[in-house]
Amino acid sequence: MRVSWSWLMELVDLPTPQDPAEWEERFPMLGLGVEAVERVGDDWVFDLETTTNRPDWLGMLGVAREVAAACRGRLRPPQVHLEESDPPAAEVAWVEVADPRLCHRYVGRVVVDVRVGPSPAWMADRLERCGIRSINNVVDVTNYVMLETGQPLHAFDLDRLVGGGVVVRAARPGEVLVTLDGQERRLHPGALVIADRERVVALGGIMGGLDTEIRPETRRVLLESAWFHPVAVRRTARALGMRTEGSTRHERGGDPERARFAAARAAQLIQELAGGRVLRGELDVYPEPQPPRRVSLRPARLRRVLGVEVPDDEAADILQRLEFQVERGPERWVVTVPSHRRDVEREEDLIEEVARIYGYDRVPETLPVEVMGVGAVAPEVDAERRIRQLLLRAGLTEVLTLSLVRADDLERVGIPPDHPLRRAIPLRNPLTQEHTHLRTTLLPSLVEVLRTNRARGNGDVHVFEVGRVFQASEAGWEERKAVGIAQMGRSLRGTWNLPQEAVQASFHSLKGVVEGLLEALHLQGWEIRAEPLPWLHPYRAAGLWVDGRRVGWLGELHPEVCERYDLRGRAYVAELELAPLVEAARAIPQYRPLAYTPAVERDLAVVVDSSVLAGEVVRVVREVAGGLLEACEPFDVYAGPPIPPGRKSVAVRMRFRDPARTLQSEEVDRLLDRVRAALQDRLAASFR
């Protein structure tokens, strides 16, 4: 709402002159945000941001009322003295409301013998200052009165209305209207329209029709000043993709009481500026006038809610300055709400009114007297924090990616059409092709992070995200959290003289991150086993299983996907469900006594068929070595001479310990014999 300071000052009587420069700070303290201030000649124009609950602020009088209240001044509304002529308006025009749900009040005024022409400069200037182009004296008056009162008006050329009147009704199927802007509008059934006997002539409260507009030759004018239902106006405007000065005001819900005043004011101005005669009486359809609302207020509660000792007299004075009537009782006051403040419905609204004019800045800052408890963090929030911290410590950098993805992102990243991860939930009303679905996995977003960085020459990227993923399932829509990891390039800096394989991201560097996380969380019973996945390198992929349930996957991104994203190298990706990790993270780890007896270490080079996995060797060792085996880990894998072709050597280091006594070398030798026999038997192993 653009507000001209000089115009505003015409509408108030203030005890002390006001400096407009100060009002850049003062308007916001009343709830009127200042978007911009502009000097126009010796006038100031404030672009005020008004809240949706205050339709009265979309008129100069509404803003003036606020300024008067804040300055302890008085409102000075324009005086209307109409000289009416015969015949009565009702004899030459008619107004009808066919659907009272669409329109609560419709006031019509008829002005005849007008001479349409340009507006005087003062009016054209004012309109322009407030952002409205001058058209002609009649149309300008409707706009001027709208700016003044907040009540949108429309002027019809009465002679072009078939049957000499208008009806407010819902559009019928197939109806079309060419609006003032020359656009042909196809109306949906139910749209709020104004029609004459034959056809639609205006979109109620939004825009008039071209055919009935005021033209130079117009002689008889039917003025419309109505209260259309906000929802009806909004629906119609949205359906047609329109937004006008009128629709904005109607959508907020104005004041039916002011419709009469605005119609008379406009008729008077037309008479002044365009000549003509105002016909006697108004055409007023107002089947159910609203009685003024009465709301009770307890001053004690006002003070309790605000936390400030506003004296009774001051509270009552503030309300009266805002044109509320106050009947004070001992504990409870009865406050009558003026018709322009239909937003005030209950006690809290009155408390806000008092607080607003009293000044939010005069309310002290206190801390709650409520016993301050100790803060807490929900377990899942706490667990997520720990998981983030562990991944950060593992050297991964946190990223945030959008939860909205393109429809084809999942395909691009290699997820086949029938895969459950393709069951993405679509947005019903996406804004762009970039964001049409909710992501089912963090994978596409993380690969996109790799791509962006690679394209900008950042080759070393080691990132993770803890975020939500969404999926449609038989049960409905699921929302859960996942941990995603993506790595490419070197994970270490300062790598001169180091062998590349020790420095570059690899399947096992990724696996190490995952293992480290699971171990730090004391997750029990997990296993990582080979599992081909369509988006991963078929021989460098694995699933993570916990207690017989698959809760994640990891591996090298499929070379074709890498190529599609132009990664120019290998990339490693993983995704884990957060829930099982959260559960584990919540458990309190229990102390296990330390063993102080010496351990015995033995190495064994196991030569097996190339197809045998290191994990199988370790599993056999674990199964047969018994309870004294403390640890067993492969430390060297080798193929090549002197190992025969088709076979490889897996060297494992075993550590034996009995916490109660010192182990004898011979005992360990006997265990080792059993281990060898079992390996030989089950894996056809030989030994080096």
């Binding site: 205050r54 809290e348 206190t366 801390l367 408890g373 019903r428 964001h435 900008r456």
Partner: protein, 327 residues
């Protein structure tokens, strides 16, 4: 005898001096003090000396022996030090080569700010919770006193999945989910993602973050809201920070206010707040006559831009590692 002692001392001294390894020092020791060493033999021959010479000779030889043992030790130590130094010198490193740097993980700047915010409210006795991003109209709107025909319900502004489901447009939805499950006093805060149908530009993204919290109790006042948010602002923005509350409008609070903080000489709008509307409390099964409540919702992304001097909101989501490494 004294002459022989002197000669021997002089010779031993010279030999020690020319010894260049600990082995050669050992050879000198053997030559004089070994079982058949020259000094050993002289000492062994003492009893054959006439008694009147024996005392003086014995003293001279023992003094020589002590002297020689000490010199041997010193020389050996000296050479050991020299050898050690030679060995270590061969191990010299080039201290100007870059260090081997294990990766240091960095929090995303928004992730970090959200952690800070959680910590601040936790320290003020709030319980940190979370709620779903996929919301229903019931919690996202109706329970917040936003009726079906309210402009905020406009599908233009929200991402809908079907008639009843949408992506939450604010975190206040979490408040009204949590409230019915607890009995006052309640102090809860949540930090998370919200969605709005905004075209991407340097200050808008369809996904953004919010911190939202509320407090319900028998004596919760508007002044408490000011106090708690002022304290929060000072914790996050620095002890000198001032907080400005200006009247505003939200369907779910009454009175309502906009919050701005002073930062580097200008006002930065960070969010909205107010006293929960009695209807909201009623719908959550809380008696608004007995209890009052304040609530607030603040942005994270745009304040973070100002705090860290970031001029384009898209940088948060691009995840360029050069950007991420700066925080």
């Amino acid at each position: 005898m004294q002459e022989r002692v002197n000669a021997l001392r002089q010779r031993a001294a010279q030999e020690l001096e020319s010894a260049s390894t600990t082995e050669e020092v050992e050879a000198v020791r053997r030559k004089y003090l070994g079982r058949k060493g020259e000094l050993t033999q002289l000492l062994r021959s003492l009893p054959q000396l006439p008694p009147q010479e024996r005392v003086a000779a014995g003293a001279a030889l023992n003094e020589l022996k002590e002297w020689l043992e000490q010199r041997l030790r010193e020389r050996a130590e000296q050479l050991r030090a020299r050898e050690r130094d030679r060995r270590l010198r061969a191990e010299a490193v080039d201290v100007t080569l870059p260090g081997r740097r294990p990766p240091v993980g960095r929090e995303h700047v928004l992730g970090r700010m959200m952690e800070e915010i959680r910590d601040i409210f936790r320290s003020m006795g709030f319980e940190v919770v979370e709620g779903p991003e996929l919301e229903t109209e019931e919690f996202n709107f109706r329970r917040l006193n936003i009726p079906d025909d309210h402009p905020a319900r406009d599908a233009q502004d929200s991402f809908y999945l079907d008639d009843e489901h949408l992506l939450r447009t604010q975190c206040t939805a979490v408040d009204v989910r949590v409230m019915p499950r607890r009995t006052p006093p309640i102090r809860v805060v949540t930090v998370g993602r919200c969605y709005r149908r905004d075209v991407v530009d340097s200050t808008h993204m369809p996904v953004f973050h919010q911190v939202d919290g509320f407090m319900v109790g028998e004596g919760v006042r508007f002044s408490d809201l000011k106090g708690v948010l002022a304290e929060f602002a000072r914790q996050l923005w620095g002890p000198e920070t001032r907080v400005r509350f200006q009247p505003s409008y939200f369907p779910f609070t009454e009175p309502s206010a906009e919050i701005a903080v002073s930062f580097r000489g200008r006002w930065l709008e960070i969010g909205g707040c107010g006293m929960f509307h009695p209807r909201v409390l009623e719908m959550a099964g809380i008696d608004p006559e007995r209890y009052t409540a304040f609530a607030f919702g603040c942005g994270v992304d745009r304040p973070a831009m100002v705090r860290y001097g970031i001029d384009d909101i898209r940088l948060f989501w691009e995840n360029d590692v050069r950007f991420l490494a700066q925080f």
